[in-house]
Symmetry: D2
Subunit: 364 residues, 4 copies
């Protein structure tokens, strides 16, 4: 994937005016603070606010303008204002409750977090009644975004999104972040790494599916690596009892593979190269068995919403849903179902559950 | 499912002669011993053998003839002999190694256990070279079989299978075990509960797929009951952090369902009635939370072989394979894959794994 | 599964008073009309209404009282009234719009169709504001229910559900429909085939999951039978080109299995016996290849809602969702996804799509 | 992903001696011919042979030495010889049958195609009896490999693999093809794009799992894009009948997304960037609806073998298997299973199959 982030000042391919623009940022967590830094470095003017004054202070030390309160933030912004929310999805509505009364018709509210697009549709209608514009931005890039730039998937009114292009353009990685796609006509902002996907909610809809795909890709790598890790299964005597399926040809499973090396070699020339693979290869360098993790995998909503959308649309998603459910299971949420299975096996076949052995034990 | 087992003496619908027949039974575990008892009660003459003399003694006390050794067993049987193996799949080959030299051309060896049909094909060819006949019998019925009768899926040569019909007929549940299927012509042994499926291996092939289906059905019930069990999810405060997907409408998940009652009501008139459901309903009567199980679900081969056969044939089996893999996961075999997922989440998003909470805890 | 439906007049095990009760039935489709017939035969008094006068006429010829309009229906019913809706889920709200203004406080509205339980929660709150009671009844039994009885899963207020017991008791199969579950204490209505599951919505919630399980069971049988059907794969020359995975050991796939016989034999004594299996066995008698079906499998909502509920609860349902998605795919809804796969294969490997061959052709 | 292929002559980071080495190449299809060209350009000496003389002629015109027969090829090679087979997996054994008698102890046979690793283990044992060395090389890179270089996963004896390093090093992309992984110690060939994974079969084992992961990743993208494509589901009237699940909130599915733009924007800065995504973005530029494909997706073995290995090892692979089965279904192999479902629905519920509508029709 894209080598280094293209230096912004020397860009020859940028299509859009990058005139300075002013943006108020609410929420200075990891993502929000890094975005302010990238915007500032790119020549945009930010006024930063967070409910935690310390977070504001930290950015002020980096030369960014700070606000002491929402009122202060709004007061410092030129009209029509543009305010970007980078807060947990769960507190967006509460933040809007406090912010909206301070705004004036023509102002723009941008939700750059991980909101459910259902909420975008509702909120944009509510804000429209006050003459306010609402823009939803699905933001991908994670902790690497400050340097690499952020991939931005945007929903909202065309004119309003257009007005914000200097912001989007500065946050995005830029065209140099990937080789040009053969045959593509020039002129689309997608080449820069940001895209106006459609009306309100479209940005978070596309980001939601993006994350759904991410779940599937991650699971594909994880399952494959698990197979490689157990390629020495034939070396380990398996218990020979009626409750254990025998390994018929142990001579086929005698490989002790070095996963750090395997993932590294895949990074060059293979069909499955990706940024996620780059990350796995990095993790395995320092912790070959990934013993620093317990394997309880969280999900933060988008995977669920993706499958729910697929069901609404009648689109089959066996892979994305399997990836989602594997996460649920990793947290113990299949336990009762498993007990039901054991109870049935006991009752029809007299099968007794085997005692637990150290999970994945032969390698630990 | 079938009320009581039809009394064999009063059968009016039995199509096949039930002349007495002699059978040697090797392997007097739960299944083998019960089959001897059912055969004896049904008028067939059994000679019973097991590597554990105590198992033979126990049956002798019930009036069954016993053998002290394989040689003794073979010596007591009239020619051409019929010997039924009811031993773990893993020791069939070893048993044959000792048994086969004692037999004579025309004798029949029956494998009634859970052998892989690949082995049947190999073994039947090996035995044919010595003039011996090989019959494979997939046997379903479990611990209830002694009373209910056994469903028998049979592979082998037509004449040989025909010769064994008195045995099969006595082991099978009989036609009264289920209402007649509308429109079926009379005369098939399938109506009695045993079927000559095809040449050697066909019996275990059909039994293998039978068990594959069983995995799928069991998982369907288990997953459904797990959903019902968590229908009170809205009553439990979920942590509100970026690592936890919020329950958007807790008011929709306020049900505290009594699963023993729900499974009982489904037993009458519903579309999902089955013998497996009868068993679940029974389990939940005495142990509503199934706390006597840990949820480590074994698999004994047939589910794996079913999916492997589907892959060879190019037949999609998303449900049967999902059921199989859920069992693997229940035993911790996804652990490394899950750690890979957590490592990726950490590296691209800075996500830190949440500490384990008591699995399925709110009900325990 | 339960033999014949126990004659109601001779019931010795019925626990609940079966005093006559009056019920208005709206919707005389297949289900509604049959339920009226079963209620009438069981001694309950029904007044039947349908938007199609012909449907009312037909029942009147069977001696059932009919109504010419909703007003007429309401007028004929004694107070407090009980009105049962048996109409498509999509027209329940519209029916209520017309019906509710005609009712009086204390009256009961029962929705016996396939409503989403979300709607039950909403509707029951709306009706409560007018002093009306709402009861949701998940009804399983299909076209066989008139004779076998219906399995009823009920949500609503305890007193109201209690008041309707004569109706539920008459519709349900009765205790004789299945053998008693060992160890169960007597006295539960679940033994009769109806159950008060919880407050409003609980009935349809349980029925929803019931149908989700049904999807999984059906898919388990379907996948298994598909494997059996292709057990002769080794007899058919497979094209040997780079786009076709070779069958390595064709000698293992030489079985030509008779599925009508196999499903019949499974009906007696096997672990996978069920009412659904009884139906499959029946279908295969007259149409061994099921050529009267095209294989476009509809879904009518409950499977989708089940998976959506599982996702909300965080409960893994790999099997139930795989079953749902297989239905979507059967209707061509994976087509674009498949084209994406072919495009990728072309672009990285130069693979050209193979021409279509007659699907499942070797058997047709 | 890796920008341009690093010019080989100017390499400063290559660790391994690139002394000229001689290689016989058997099989001049797309892959074999391109590999010869890359090797030749990189300074290695190739002698090329194919059963099609025209293929040899074509390379000779490019200045590559050709052989007229296997005998000729063997005669031209210096001892100990190194012969690389790049032929379809199905003809490897036949080629070896002809080649092996011509070779002498100490010679090396390399299978660079897509052989099943089971065959590697068998073949290497057979060749060892004649004093021949066997090396298996899983080769990824596809049609782009000539320019990008090939990712090589290698199994065999350590000394033998070492001897071939000049060949591997020239075929591989080189270290510059991807940024260095932070924290990795220098010196591994994995950084160059080739890896000695383990003893014979290990190369194809790792390549097999690589392809299994590829299936999963491809399916993740395909499913996600299918969801995006149907984001306008609310604009299309859905039939309102009992066989069709209603779209409850059509206002949530009003988006008409441009997939060529969406995949392009994901290429910069997003978490799901990859080479496969680059290819999809390219495909959609010229054929937005992918109408040039029918969606019948082939599989060429590795996906099947991956899942079979997982089953042997007891490793859950719900995602990889779902991806595999989706391909089977795309070719109509679920048809009989679907007919079984429709038959059941008809028999329990009287449901009649809906007539086919143009698949994915609203967009075509």
């Amino acid at each position: 994937m894209a080598a280094a982030h293209r230096a912004r000042s020397s860009s020859a391919t940028r299509h859009f005016p990058e005139r300075d623009m002013q943006l108020g940022m609410i929420g200075l967590g990891r993502m929000g603070a890094d975005m302010v830094r990238r915007l500032t470095k790119g020549g945009q003017q930010c006024i930063a606010y967070d409910v935690q004054p310390a977070a504001v202070e930290k950015l002020k030390q980096d030369g960014v303008a700070g606000a002491a309160s929402l009122e202060d933030l709004v007061a410092q912004l030129q009209k029509p204002r543009a305010v970007w929310l980078m807060v947990p999805a769960a507190v967006v509505d509460k933040t809007l409750e406090n912010l909206v009364p301070l705004l004036e018709p023509g102002d723009i509210v941008i939700d750059g977090g991980n909101s459910y697009y259902h909420d975008d549709i509702r909120r944009s209608a509510e804000l429209a009644q006050r003459g306010l514009h609402y823009v939803d931005v699905g933001t991908s890039g994670g902790v690497a975004g400050r340097e690499r730039g952020y991939c931005l998937m945007i929903g909202g009114e065309t004119e309003v999104v257009k007005r914000l292009e200097p912001i989007f353009s500065t946050l995005a990685p830029g065209a140099g972040a990937a080789p040009a796609t053969p045959g593509r006509a020039a002129g689309s902002t997608a080449d820069q790494g940001f895209l106006h996907c459609g009306p309100q909610g479209a940005g978070h809809f596309v980001k939601m599916v993006h994350n759904g795909i991410e779940y599937g890709m991650m699971a594909a790598y994880a399952e494959g690596l698990n197979i490689l890790r157990h390629a020495d299964a034939g070396k380990h005597a398996r218990e020979a009892d009626a409750e254990t399926s025998p390994l018929r040809r142990p001579e086929l499973y005698q490989y002790e593979l070095n996963l750090a090396e395997v993932t590294e070699v895949w990074r060059r020339g293979s069909v499955i190269g990706s940024w996620l693979l780059d990350l796995i290869a990095g993790s395995l360098v320092s912790d070959a068995d990934l013993q620093s993790y317990a394997g309880r995998v969280s999900d933060s909503g988008e995977g669920r919403w993706t499958v729910a959308a697929a069901i609404d649309e009648g689109v089959p998603t066996p892979v994305l849903s399997a990836a989602l459910f594997a996460r649920f299971s990793s947290r113990g949420d299949a336990d009762f179902a498993n007990r039901v299975l054991s109870a049935m096996r006991h009752d029809f076949g007299g099968h007794v559950e085997k005692a637990a052995t150290p999970a994945d034990g032969h390698k630990s």
